[in-house]
């Protein structure tokens, strides 16, 4: 679920405002992992670092051709949520993992292909024709690449058993993966495994014992290099789901530590192009080359720069000023993005270093509280919800949110980049129709609705004020319920009794999918699938429950082919909109900025940023 406050609609709830994210900021100084390895490996690393840092940029003959070497300096003000691939759930965490942790499938930094999974650790995308997917669509057989190794001592191949171990770790009792509901009932035996795991003490030894002694029936290792997943129903989106870092392999050494713990963060093991040289939570992360990484085994990351330094102590404004100055100590953003006022200026100047990336999200949108008792249960009545939808001028809201360049209008559930999305608008601005519908609904005159938003959110205030004016024109009074950011979800939207008491009638929320492309399930499952999506477990905050929609969602989730799934998702989308379950506003574009000397900056929606493992730096700007 994504918030609307900042310009960072990241996976799920926006990080800057997510309470869990705030809690995850750990203090203390971490010991560099490098000092744990044996002297031989240390020597290799030191030599490697010396060579790469003192060697001038290796330019190739062709101008503009990739250059190897240098230090990429990333500036930000926030930390990763967890330094643990099976637990991390937010894009700052994903961005860090991109350097040192590989997945079965990943999104490549190829323009136009950034939401299409490509093999990473896997040798190929499984299909029915290549035998990767069984005829009934229930079994996925994935072969791992040869030559991928952990930077252990001695280096060890990444195996299918590591993949299974990684999946087991996702539902550990100490820090379970936040997106677990996405696949809890999909993989055979996973729910049972997790139910048992939940009762285990939150200690490293107890967790390791449970993982070693229990199996997930639907996740098995066949030999060294073949992982097999068995599903409870066909799921065309399973490969996309496997791009989640939660499905990353985990080396056996991780069983020594509590998942998501600081101890683990101090002892990470890398199979990517970089390894963590030092990590000071909320201060700095330094990535250096992983000497055992083999470029030929990694089709996703080119790893042009030798070193990546993440400075987490720079304000948003300072980050922008430094990047625009073009100094070699500032190359890319970490989690800071251009301030909204700067974006407008950069757009008007047509600054080539500004990029507006598709987020594939619906953020923000208006939730209608269908169980509110206010105004004689007006919000439960379909004509009232439709009347409200017709009274809202989306263009006004988009203007308030920064204009059409930053906000693609969204008139239905699925953003245009998601499979199954079809463009339609059944609620165009029509105040006359609103008045007719309200008259038919026989509501008390001068209806007052309560609008829930975050008091410290600029977008929340602007949407509220704009909406207030829109609804005033049709005789509906909108009263603001401004609540602190920290309470917005935990004390309001996620508490069913708050909605049922009528504390709010309309709320401002948002949603970003957990994966991209074939991602409709990541919208409809948590938001509109009836009782099982009700809060606190789900994010169906308005308590929308339609038997027709629920049936269609079940059918779409189990569709045997992508074509059939796409058609069904389109039907679900129309049904949800016909029921006026919510009011979509925009699929926002994410503004990102990089210094002029950064080349090949390709925006990856899953990272909400440029891919740092595929950029290179111009000569003379190799940092230090």
């Amino acid at each position: 679920m994504s918030s609307i406050g900042g310009s960072t609609p990241t996976g799920r709830m926006a990080e800057s405002e997510h309470p869990m994210f705030m809690l995850c900021k750990q203090g203390g100084l971490l010991r560099p992992r490098a000092i744990l390895v044996v002297p031989v490996l240390c020597l290799m690393m030191v030599l490697s670092a010396c060579v790469t840092e003192t060697t001038p940029a290796r330019n190739t003959a062709r101008p503009g051709a990739p250059l190897t070497g240098g230090t990429l300096n990333m500036l930000g003000s926030g930390d990763v949520d967890y330094m643990d691939p099976n637990v991390s759930y937010y894009t700052a965490g994903y961005l860090g993992l991109r350097m040192w942790s590989r997945q079965l499938f990943a999104y490549p930094a190829r323009p136009g292909k950034t939401t299409m999974p490509a093999p990473d650790l896997a040798t190929q995308i499984p299909t029915r024709s290549n035998g990767g997917i069984s005829a009934d669509g229930l079994t996925y057989t994935i072969t791992l690449r040869q030559g991928v190794r952990w930077n252990t001592n001695p280096p060890r191949p990444v195996t299918a058993a590591d993949v299974v171990r990684g999946l087991k770790r996702t539902c550990n009792p100490a820090q379970p993966f936040g997106g677990m509901p996405d696949f809890r009932d999909l993989i055979v035996g996973y729910a049972k495994f997790c139910d048992g795991f939940a009762r285990v003490p939150q200690t490293a030894s107890a967790i390791a014992r449970y993982i070693n002694r229990h199996e997930i029936a639907g996740a098995t290792a066949r030999g060294e290099r073949t992982a097999v997943f068995r599903l409870t129903h066909p799921a065309t989106y399973f490969v996309e789901m496997l791009t989640l870092p939660a499905f990353s392999p985990a080396p056996v050494e991780y069983l020594r530590y509590v998942p998501g713990s600081l101890e683990l963060a101090r002892n990470t093991i890398s199979n990517g192009p970089y390894q963590i040289e030092s990590y000071r939570p909320t201060k700095e992360i330094v990535f250096v080359r992983n000497p055992v990484w083999d470029r030929s085994t990694d089709p996703i990351r080119k790893a042009y720069v030798d070193k990546i330094v993440v400075d987490q102590t720079v304000s948003q404004e300072s980050t922008q000023l430094q990047l625009q100055a073009g100094t070699e100590s500032a190359d890319m953003e970490w989690d800071n993005f251009p301030p909204s006022s700067t974006v407008a200026a950069l757009l008007s100047q047509r600054d080539p270093n500004l990029h507006l990336g598709a987020t594939s999200s619906s953020n923000p949108f208006l939730v209608f509280n269908i169980v509110s008792p206010n105004n004689r249960r007006a919000m439960a009545k379909l004509p009232v919800r439709r009347a409200i939808a017709h009274a809202i001028r989306r263009r006004d809201l988009i203007q308030a949110l920064g204009g059409p360049k930053l906000n693609e209008p969204l008139t239905h559930v699925l953003p245009s980049t998601v499979m199954g999305s079809r463009n339609f608008d059944i609620y165009p601005y029509n105040p006359g129709k609103t008045r007719r519908l309200l008259t038919q609904a026989k509501l008390p005159r001068g209806m007052t609705l309560k609008f829930l938003y975050r008091s410290d959110s600029e977008a929340g205030r602007k949407v509220f004020t704009t909406l207030q004016q829109n609804l005033r024109e049709v005789g509906i009074r909108l009263e603001g319920v401004a609540v602190p950011n920290a309470d917005f979800f935990t004390k309001y939207l996620q508490v069913p009794s708050v909605a049922r008491r009528g504390v709010w009638d309309i709320a401002l929320a948002g949603w970003a999918p957990d994966w991209h492309g074939d991602a409709a399930a990541s919208f409809f499952g948590p938001l509109f699938s009836g009782k099982k999506s009700f809060p606190p477990a789900g994010s169906n905050f308005g308590f929308y429950n339609s038997p027709v929609t629920n049936r269609l969602i079940r059918q779409a989730m189990a569709a045997p082919t992508k074509e059939q799934a796409a058609q069904l998702w389109t039907q679900v989308d129309r049904q949800v909109m016909r029921d006026a379950a919510f009011y979509p506003i925009t699929n926002p574009r994410q503004p990102n900025y990089h210094a002029p000397h950064v080349r090949n900056a390709v925006f990856i929606p899953a990272l909400q940023n440029f891919d740092p493992t595929n950029v290179w730096l111009e000569p003379g700007k190799h940092g230090g």
Binding site: S341, A400, L401, G403, P404, K462, F464, Q469
Partner: protein, 294 residues
């Protein structure tokens, strides 16, 4: 020929002194102008033909939702929702003055009573009031305000109560000190000897003698209170949107300072001029009271 000197009361002396202080007079004129702006805010809206909460999305905003600079239509430009900054400043003056006067009135009323009682009666009453004053003065205002507002929700009434509740202690301390000195004076002793009741002595003999310093402090407290209101509004703890307040306007303008200078400058200037005028007037009154005492 013998020259007659017209006998003057203390307040007349103060007024005489004050009239000679052109800075104080100028400050008073500015304050009157701000009061006039607040009172005539609907007139400003009428003249400009711009409602205080009305958003002018076509003429008041760019297509990308940015404020428009000062122009013939919007004399002081527009804000981030396409509203007229001039009209909102005028209505914001109402909020600032209302909070300034109400919270100061509350603080002075409580502080005066507490100071009089503590100073005059002494003993256990004085101890209790003095400790209470110490307690209030030791509480961190902003932290307490944030905590309270997070429980009650933001609003103008709670802002007045919070500021008033935090400002009375300094008034009480000043009054108490003055009363401790006044109660030992001969005329108080005489009144007591003649059998006057404590309340009568307080009302007739003590209160008029603390009125001057209290007036000075009140004048100086108003700008402090206005700034406190602006601070709370700036932090999002003041009156909820779309109520116009100068602090909230500054808060909203922070995101646009690079592209819309008018959005920051005009509400900031209104706040600055108002607080400066009250402070200068307070200084003038203090000097006048001191002069009258001599």
């Amino acid at each position: 020929m013998r020259e007659w000197v017209e006998p003057s009361g203390p307040w007349r002396m103060v007024w005489k002194q004050l009239r000679r202080d052109w800075v104080a007079v100028g400050a008073a004129v500015v304050i009157l102008a701000i009061v006039g702006l607040a009172v005539c805010a609907p007139l400003v809206a009428q003249v400009t033909r711009h409602g205080v909460d009305t958003q002018y999305r076509t003429t008041g905003l760019t297509a990308d939702g940015l404020p428009r600079p000062p122009s013939r239509e919007f004399w002081l430009g527009t804000d981030d929702l396409g509203r007229d900054v001039l009209v909102r400043i005028a209505y914001g003056a109402r909020t600032s003055l209302l909070v300034g006067v109400a919270a100061t009135g509350m603080a002075v009323a409580i502080g005066l009573v507490a100071g009089l009682v503590a100073g005059y009666f002494g003993g256990a009453v004085d101890t209790v009031v003095a400790r209470l004053v110490d307690l209030v003065l030791s509480l961190p205002f902003l932290l307490f305000a944030i905590a309270l507002v997070s429980v009650t929700g933001p609003g103008l009434a709670i802002v007045i109560v919070v500021i008033g509740a935090f400002s009375w202690a300094s008034v009480a301390r000043i009054v108490r000190g003055l009363v401790l000195s006044i109660r030992e004076r001969e005329y108080v002793e005489a009144a007591r000897a003649l059998g006057a009741s404590s309340w009568r002595i307080l009302r007739v003999a003590v209160l008029p003698n603390v009125a001057g310093p209290v007036l000075v402090y009140t004048t100086l407290l108003i700008p402090t209170v206005i700034v406190a209101e602006a601070t709370l509004s700036f932090l999002g703890l003041g009156a909820p949107p779309p109520t116009p307040t100068w602090g909230a306007m500054l808060n909203e303008a922070v995101h646009y300072y690079q592209v819309a200078w008018w959005y920051v400058v005009f509400p900031g200037a209104a706040l600055l001029v108002t607080t400066l005028a009250f402070n200068l007037l307070g200084d003038g009154i203090r000097d006048a009271v001191a002069g009258a005492d001599r």
